[in-house]
């Protein structure tokens, strides 16, 4: 599903964010990406939906070589990926409902379906009371949940979640984890960066640990593994 061959990423300012990453994530896997702040987790994931391009090496997603992909094809590849951004990236001019609906309008879904499905996922993340609020009128955690709702609304085959529970209380976080597990159960591949030790150690999955741009550990049913 997702493959990286000797991937390096050096940002224009000279920061080596990733150095020689080789990885293979299979269809329907659930992978935690862990590591200290600034280790390269977000970069690792940005490469998967082509927000960033690798400086060196190759990335395959669903057999597409992302480096060779024509500009015109990129949107279609992205439609199979639901991204929960670390900084949410909500459209500030649109309401909560419209933000989620936007992802469906992009794939030209019929209006009725949009309404039904968007309501469904917003209820799932418990935002049914905030439908017509703008992102600036939401609390941090509420914004994060809108981002989650938007990522899952199209039932994508891959979900990339960058610290999806960073601003959520434990209870809500577990709710989100249940949703992600459910989606994973129904066939989607999930890559999730997280600092939440409790979640990683409780819901055991494959764990990829990155440190200073290098994969230092890759265990099936691993632990968070950093001692306090």
């Amino acid at each position: 599903m997702i493959e990286m061959h000797d991937v390096w990423k050096t940002y224009p300012d000279g920061t080596h964010a990733l150095r020689g990453v080789n990885i293979k994530v299979h269809k329907n896997e659930f992978v935690y990406v862990v590591g200290p702040s600034g280790a390269g987790k977000s970069t690792f994931m940005k490469l998967m939906y082509r927000e960033e391009m690798p400086t060196k090496g190759q990335i395959f997603l669903d057999n597409f070589n992302l480096g060779r992909l024509k500009q015109r094809k990129i949107p279609y590849v992205r439609r199979n990926i639901g991204v929960i951004f670390q900084d949410y990236r909500l459209l500030q001019k649109l309401t909560v409902f419209e933000n989620v609906a936007f992802a469906m309008e992009v794939i030209e879904a019929p209006k009725k379906l949009i309404k039904k499905r968007a309501m469904e996922v917003l209820e799932l993340v418990n935002l049914q009371d905030k439908l017509s609020n703008y992102p600036t009128q939401l609390s941090g955690g509420e914004q994060q949940r809108v981002s989650i709702a938007r990522a899952i609304v199209n039932n994508p085959s891959v979900i990339i979640a960058d610290e999806p529970t960073g601003n959520l209380d434990p209870e809500t976080s577990w709710g989100i984890m249940r949703i992600l597990e459910e989606i994973n159960f129904r066939g989607a591949t999930i890559v999730m960066a997280t600092h939440n030790k409790e979640i990683v150690n409780t819901l055991r999955k494959r764990v990829i640990a990155i440190e200073k741009g290098i994969i230092v550990r890759d265990e099936l049913r691993g632990e968070y593994g950093y001692e306090d």
């Binding site: 927000e51 949107p75 992205r78 991204v83 990236r89 992009v106 030209e108 209006k111």
Partner: protein
């Protein structure tokens, strides 16, 4: 593109006009103000042009006949002149009329004209020839001269068409027209630049939004369409405001007797004559810059 998507683009484009409150106001007012000045200057230029045309149209050829030309030769000449295709109008001026004219010119000082009445009148009979195309006046004059000289018995003593002065007049109307044109052109270009510049700023302010849309899977055209629609709306509003203001103001001006009195013999161009081309031109500029400026500015943020 599915029809519902097209409908969606129109809806989002129109919504965007309202959602971007401040930015929309800034774009529309930049457009209105620039086009107002442009339109105002165009109105002035059109009127100056008509005035220049009026001056030019007063250019005429005087054909002085030899003394004691037979009356039948005079009639033949009149007929010949009138049948020239370039000629608009021919008027005969008798000796007596010429003298009266001199008296009006020297109205304070006409003592020296006394004693030239009747038989003693030394002035020539003449024709005043108006041409259809004032610029052709020299050509026509020379044609008349040549053609008389080929007659067995030439009857023209001399032609006058303000040689020198006419050329000077045309040089001046030409200069004024060109200066006007250059200014209208420059004003047009700068208006377009300033409007496009403003629109670009409003879109730069939305570049983050555009990049988010791309990351969520939108194609370039999906993002562009609402901007295009929005640009068209901006164009319509931003050009119809100054166009209506100008046309209404001009209408009031042409109706104002006071102003007409102030201008004296200068005649303003009809407001109907100005309204459609001016309104049309401003609308076209607004639409083109609005739509083009929007989608062009969006372009550079689509590479995400």
């Amino acid at each position: 593109m599915k029809i519902r998507t097209f409908v969606r683009h129109i809806r989002e484009g129109v919504k965007s006009v309202f959602r971007n409150g401040w930015m929309t106001v800034a774009s529309i007012s930049a457009m209105s103000v620039s086009l107002l000045i442009l339109g105002l200057f165009m109105m002035l230029a059109i009127n100056v042009n008509q005035f220049a045309q009026h001056l030019e149209s007063q250019v005429e050829i005087r054909v002085f006949l030899k003394v004691n030309t037979a009356e039948e030769d005079v009639s033949r000449m009149e007929f010949d002149l009138e049948s020239m295709p370039a000629v608009k109008n021919v008027t005969f001026v008798s000796k007596q009329q010429a003298l009266s004219y001199l008296r009006t010119v020297f109205k304070d000082d006409q003592s020296f004209l006394d004693g030239l009445e009747g038989e003693n009148n030394p002035l020539n009979e003449s024709f005043t020839v108006e041409v259809k195309e004032p610029r052709d006046v020299s050509t026509v004059a020379k044609a008349i001269e040549n053609w008389d000289q080929q007659e067995p018995k030439p009857i023209i003593e001399r032609l006058r068409w303000g040689q020198g002065t006419v050329e000077e007049l045309f040089r001046w109307t030409e200069i004024i027209r060109n200066v006007g044109l250059v200014f209208v052109g420059l004003l047009g270009l700068t208006s377009m630049f300033l409007i496009a510049n403003t629109i670009k700023l409003t879109i730069i302010a939305r570049r983050r939004e555009i990049s988010i849309m791309k990351l969520v899977g939108a194609t370039n055209s999906f993002i562009r369409w609402p901007f295009f629609i929005e640009g068209i709306f901006l164009g319509v509003i931003g050009s119809m405001i100054p166009a209506s203001a100008l046309i209404y103001g001009y209408y009031r001006l042409t109706q104002s007797e006071q102003f007409q009195h102030f201008l004296g013999f200068v005649q303003l161009v009809d407001w109907q004559t100005i309204a459609y081309p001016l309104g049309g031109l401003l609308l076209v500029i607004g639409l083109v810059i609005g739509a083009w400026g929007s989608i062009f500015s969006v372009r550079k943020f689509l590479k995400v």
